[in-house]
């Protein structure tokens, strides 16, 4: 196959009619270019949307309580109940597949009253009682100081980590923040850190206006006892939370004496399922990319096949001579196939290179003009490129197959008679 004479001949044949060769190659070039551009555009959209999800642990569910809608075990309908801190222990025992269980409590909320005071300034903020693990489930960048830690929990320290939005409203520019005190519903907390969340999703502004305090200090300061407002539960990566969630919910129903068929009493939201829905959208997009791209490529390949047929026709006499001189039919078939594969691959490579340059240009443009919504870093990975190459080789083979067959079907004596 890697035979100097064979390759010389391939080049000779393909260069005898430059214009035709280039036109033919353009079909395949165009097909692979469209394929690459479509796939990279899909990838850009995917990257953009993924960036909006941020680093949030997506294998997560949130679970809260509502009032019961069925009487059970002598307990009335419409009963309110709370998760307890013991529930966390129960869940840890029953579900070793879990990675984080963060019990959470909250003060304030959307449109709440002013609940935080510092000197002469006041503001309305969401205040969360949390464990240190929450930073892994809801990632945030600590811009100064530190986040709450385990000894804050154990010692029930009244410390707080505030968002940049809180800082901007309660502090003058340049004021020392760490070590200052803020009063949350009449209780003083020492500010030990500030955070910034990655903006991008709709509630970016709101996300910066939060205050995190240790769960235990929160419970004590605001009289929550061992109640838990809601829980953020993340499973280990190999166990999708979607498959665990009903077990968790049923366990909570059992613990809190709720009718097993009461579907309203425990509210939950499965982030993973939501995320998967978007994932399947990405899948559909890359399917469309492949589908359209390959169809365009196919028309290019038909072009190659067509031209190869003409080439074979033109060379009928030559093929006849070669067979009279004793070339074996397989060698002729191989020659035609190689010409076709070579043409396909060269033009495909050109398509890949131009596609890559195009992507590079778009990226440079995006970099220069700042980020665009829902679109980021369009790219194709090596897998796609090798898939494209694979498709090219296969299609080169297909394109050459029929012409090669027709080349050896002509009997040498008939081929020699052709003038």
């Amino acid at each position: 196959m890697f035979n100097r004479d064979r390759w010389k001949e391939i080049l000779e044949v393909l260069t005898t009619n430059w214009f035709r060769t280039v036109l033919t190659a353009f079909g395949v070039f165009w097909g692979i270019l469209i394929l690459i551009i479509l796939l990279s555009a899909g990838k850009g959209l995917e990257n953009g949307i993924r960036a909006d999800f941020g680093d949030i642990a997506t294998n997560t569910m949130f679970m809260w309580t509502r009032s019961t809608t069925k009487a059970h075990m002598g307990l009335p309908i419409g009963r309110n109940f709370n998760y307890k801190t013991e529930d966390v222990e129960t869940l840890w025992e029953k579900f070793p597949q879990l990675r984080f269980i963060s019990p959470r409590n909250q003060l304030g909320g959307f449109g709440g009253n002013n609940n935080v005071i510092r000197g002469l300034k006041t503001g309305a903020y969401n205040v969360y009682g949390d464990y240190p693990e929450i930073i892994q489930q809801e990632p945030m960048a600590i811009t100064a100081g530190r986040f709450i830690n385990q000894s804050d929990i154990e010692n029930k320290r009244k410390v707080a980590v505030i968002g940049l939005g809180v800082k901007n409203e309660l502090y003058e520019a340049g004021e020392e923040i760490l070590g200052s005190y803020i009063k949350i519903q009449g209780v003083n907390f020492l500010v030990v850190g500030t955070y910034k969340k990655r903006s991008g999703n709709g509630n970016g502004e709101e996300g910066q206006k939060e205050i995190y305090v240790p769960f235990t200090s929160f419970s004590q300061a605001f009289n929550r006892g061992n109640n838990v407002g809601w829980m953020a539960i993340t499973a280990k990566d190999e166990f999708p939370i979607t498959s665990l969630k009903m077990g968790i919910v049923n366990e909570m129903k059992r613990v809190h004496k709720i009718h097993p068929e009461d579907t309203r009493a425990i509210g939950f939201f499965d982030l993973y399922e939501e995320f998967n829905r978007v994932e399947s959208l990405f899948g559909a997009m890359s399917f469309i990319g492949y589908f359209v791209g390959i169809l365009v490529l196919l028309s290019g390949i038909i072009g190659v096949s067509n031209i190869m047929l003409i080439v074979v026709k033109e060379r009928t006499k030559e093929i006849g001579i070669r067979r009279a001189l004793g070339e074996d039919p397989w060698s002729i078939r191989k020659q035609i196939l190689l010409e076709s594969i070579f043409l396909t691959i060269i033009s495909g490579m050109a398509g890949i290179v131009v596609g890559a340059l195009f992507i590079y240009g778009v990226n440079a443009l995006l970099d220069a003009n700042g980020p665009v919504d829902m679109f980021m870093n369009p790219s194709v990975n090596l897998g796609v490129v090798s898939a494209a190459l694979f498709i090219l080789i296969i299609s080169g083979l297909l394109a050459g197959f029929i012409p090669a067959q027709s080349a050896i079907k002509v009997r040498p004596i008939d081929a020699l008679r052709t003038e």
Partner: protein, 233 residues
């Protein structure tokens, strides 16, 4: 060298079939220079094609140097043609994008001979036909006589058992025809077996034996006194 017994061949032309060869019997000894003569339609080209394994007979036997030639698949036929036969055509049939040297080296390429060896050998044969200086010219840069010499070199290069020439002077003027025939005679003098199909009596006279074909049968098979081409030039 060649033994043919009761060879029949007919072509189907639509509904009626055309019986071209009606029982040919003839033998060719080693080192003979045989002319096959006949008017057009006498079956001489068909006979040559069958001898050249480009076509297959309907019935009869064909033995080439002790090897029965029958039921060949294409690969085997190609292999035999390459090893046993050298073709010289009326229209030269050189491959026009290959140089004279490459054209001559083609049969060796199909034998998978290494490049260097192949070129040396091809050069040797080009030299023998007096075209060493033209080895890197394309066929389009050569005259008719030169092209036919290249074709002869190509037919010789694989050292075949038999050379088959189909109207090899048909496209040449008489002066070049004689030059080419002189070359053929020289090759024959070296002991090669050559079959020439022609309808020109003067060319036939330059062979050692003439087989006359008419309507698919041999009507006359005679040894002749060879006329040397050189005298006529």
């Amino acid at each position: 060298m060649i033994e043919i017994k009761d060879l029949h061949k007919s072509y189907k032309m639509g509904s009626n079939s055309l019986h071209v060869l009606k029982g040919i019997n003839f033998n060719v000894e080693d080192g003979e220079l045989v002319a096959i003569m006949g008017s057009s339609g006498s079956g001489k080209s068909t006979l040559l094609n069958i001898l050249g394994m480009l076509d297959e007979a309907d019935s009869g036997t064909y033995v080439l140097d002790g090897i029965p030639i029958k039921n060949l698949n294409e690969t085997k036929a190609a292999n035999y043609r390459n090893k046993f036969l050298g073709f010289i055509f009326q229209s030269f049939n050189l491959i026009n994008y290959k140089t004279a040297l490459e054209n001559v080296a083609l049969p060796l390429y199909y034998q998978k001979m290494p490049r260097k060896q192949r070129q040396e050998k091809a050069m040797k044969y080009l030299e023998q036909v007096g075209l060493k200086e033209w080895s890197h010219h394309l066929p389009s840069e050569l005259s008719g006589g030169q092209k036919q010499r290249v074709a002869i070199a190509r037919a010789m290069v694989a050292e075949p058992k038999v050379l088959l020439a189909d109207e090899l002077t048909g496209a040449l003027d008489s002066k070049t025809s004689y030059e080419v025939m002189e070359l053929i005679q020289n090759i024959n003098d070296q002991g090669n077996t050559i079959l020439v199909v022609t309808h020109e009596p003067d060319i036939a006279q330059m062979c050692k034996r003439i087989v006359h074909l008419k309507d698919g049968v041999i009507v006359k098979d005679e040894k002749v006194k060879q006329v040397r081409a050189k005298v006529n030039v």
